[in-house]
Symmetry: C2
Subunit: 157 residues, 2 copies
């Protein structure tokens, strides 16, 4: 029986795949950096990236900005998965972290904190993973916040 949920999970319903997508949304786009940040084996990472490439959720690019490094970028189809990740984040923020969230997201347009969701909880505009930034919050200790900062800096290089 055709089902949009089942067939979506066929493509992306797997622990590592969703974490790879999370990292791509955050801008962590190179094989070696994905491997390092996710602590994933080369084989599993390579398999998952192949599946995502075949499904046209990501594409390979080598840009001037990346200094010639091969990077994995989300396509429009991939960026459309942002709401799934934001819905997962919202659930975890509340039900795993009891609203003492590890990462507070900020809507870049209005520069106010927002809950993860379809719309900014401050200004009401639609948001996606790309239109928000994240800052370490109450759910992270100092060491974890420092790790996050160094992860962010490694991406921006």
């Amino acid at each position: 029986m055709p089902c949009s949920i089942a067939q979506t999970l066929d493509i992306i319903g797997e622990f590592w795949t969703l974490l790879i997508l999370r990292d791509l949304f955050l801008g962590n786009r190179r094989f070696s950096r994905l491997e390092a940040n996710l602590g994933i084996s080369k084989k599993v990472l390579s398999d998952r990236l192949k599946t995502l490439l075949a499904a046209e959720i990501i594409q390979q690019k080598s840009t001037k900005q990346s200094g010639g490094w091969l990077e994995y970028h989300l396509t429009e189809k991939g960026e459309a998965l942002g709401p799934v990740l934001l819905a997962l984040m919202a659930w975890g923020d509340h039900w795993v972290f009891n609203d003492k969230v590890p990462i507070q997201i900020i809507h870049k347009n209005c520069n106010h904190p927002t809950k993860p969701g379809e719309n900014c909880s401050h200004c009401g505009e639609p948001i996606n993973f790309n239109s928000v930034s994240g800052i370490p919050s109450a759910g992270m200790n100092k060491k974890e916040a420092a790790q996050w900062k160094s992860f962010r800096e490694s991406i921006d290089k």
Copy 2:
């Protein structure tokens, strides 16, 4: 590093678990019926249900309405996962089925078709899996629509 997405996936980020939750949202709550509808092995189903019970996402109930059968019901924490499934459905409807959706959801309150999302696309009220019903649509052939009907009838017994 604590992450609401990663820790949510630790609990629910796995193909079968999300399909089990889909069936529970649809009201398919008994072990044998979950096994039959999902085509899942007894062992995997039993393992996943144990994980969901331990995480307090579901609870076991034997009610008068169920004729004394042991059923699995979503808790408040479990029902809060509705937006994740609706976000998966929305993506699949568009990117897998090209908007020729297999199931059209109807907002029970206003009785109008809506896209899967946080709010009804007709009346704007918040929706969850529980406040919508689904009817076979353009993405299902006659045989599939008949299967869906008989599945729905088996649940309602």
